[in-house]
C-alpha cells in the first residue's frame, strides 16, 4: 500500500472521496480549514460549469440531416466555383435582343460572303467553259450607227457577237 501524497489527498478531498479516519486526519492537517473549504466550493462550481459547457451535444435527426446538407453544399460550392458562375453569366449574356442582333449579324455576314464568292466564281466559270469576246469594234466610217452586243447561250455554250446596223449588201455578195 503506497502512501498518498498531499496533492492526491487534496484532490480526493475536493472530490469528496475521503472518508473516515483518513478524512479526519487530512482535515486536521490543513493549516486553514476555512480557506480550504472555500477553495473546495470554488472547485465544485468550476467543475459543474465545465461539465455543463463541455458536455457533448447530442444532435437530433433533423439537426443531423440539416448539418449534412449544409456541409454537402459547402463542399460543392468550394469544388466548383466556376461552374456555379456559368449559368448566371449565360443567362445574362443571351438575352432576346442580343440573340436577335447576333442572328441578324450572322445572316448579313453569310449573305456578304455568298455574294462575294458568287461574284468571283462567275468569271472563272465563264472563262473555263465559254468563249469570251474580249473586244469588238466596227468602222464608223463604213457602218455609221452600227452597234455591237455580246451574249452567251448557256445550254449549247454558244457565244454570239451580234451586230446591228452594218451596211446591207446585195444578194450577189452571197456568192462562194
Amino acid at each position: 500500500m503506497f502512501m498518498k501524497t498531499f496533492e492526491e489527498k487534496w484532490t480526493a478531498w475536493l472530490d469528496g472521496k475521503l472518508s473516515g479516519k483518513e478524512l479526519e486526519e487530512f482535515e486536521a492537517s490543513l493549516p486553514d480549514k476555512a480557506a480550504a473549504e472555500a477553495e473546495k466550493g470554488e472547485a465544485k462550481k468550476l467543475g459543474a460549469l465545465l461539465k455543463e459547457q463541455l458536455a457533448t451535444h447530442v444532435l437530433t435527426n433533423e439537426e443531423f440531416f440539416s448539418h449534412q446538407l449544409r456541409e454537402r453544399i459547402a463542399a460543392v460550392e468550394a469544388a466548383e466555383p466556376a461552374a456555379g458562375d456559368t449559368p448566371a453569366t449565360t443567362t445574362r449574356w443571351w438575352t432576346i435582343p442580343r440573340l436577335f442582333w447576333a442572328g441578324a449579324t450572322s445572316l448579313a455576314i453569310f449573305i456578304l460572303c455568298a455574294f462575294m464568292v458568287m461574284r468571283e466564281k462567275r468569271p472563272s466559270e465563264q472563262s473555263q467553259y465559254l468563249t469570251q469576246v474580249l473586244n469588238a469594234r466596227v468602222d464608223p466610217a463604213v457602218s455609221p450607227g452600227a452597234t455591237i452586243s455580246i451574249f452567251e447561250t448557256k445550254e449549247e455554250k454558244v457565244t454570239v457577237l451580234w451586230t446591228e446596223g452594218l451596211q446591207s449588201l446585195p444578194a450577189e455578195y452571197a456568192a462562194k
Partner: protein
Amino acid sequence: MKGSIFAAVFVLTISATQTWAAETIWSGLVIADNVAQPAPVPTELKPIDHKLKQLFGYDQFQIIGQSTKTLTSGQEDWLAWSKYFTLQVNARGQSGAGYVLDLKLWKQRELLLETQAKLSTRSPLVIKGPQVGSGQLLLVLLVR
C-alpha cells in the same frame, strides 16, 4: 524499275502534248436565209444548227467559205474567204481552255468588223455579219 516509270511518264507526257497539238479550229463564212426547200445543214454546222435556227430565225445555212486549221504552236494565222468576204484569223496563243484570236472581217478591201475573242474548246463563236440580200452573213468558229 525507276527507269521504266520515268519512260512511261515521258511517253504519256509526249502523248498528251501531241493530243493538245492535234486540235483544229474550223472557221466558216455562212449565208443564212429562208427558202421554200432548205438544203440540208452542212456537216460542219450540225453541232449548232438547232441553235443557229433558234437564234437567227433562218432555215437554211450554206457555207460560202471555210478553213480548217490545225494548231501546233497556237500562234498560227489563216484566212477563210468567199468571193467578196474574207475572215482573217490571227491566233495569239493558248489561254486556259481556249485560244486567243484576233478576227477581222473584210468585204474585199474594206474592214467591216474587228474583234478579239478567247475561243474555248467547248464553246463555238458565232458572229452576225451584214445582211446580204434576203439573208444574213454569219461567221462561225469552233474547236474540233
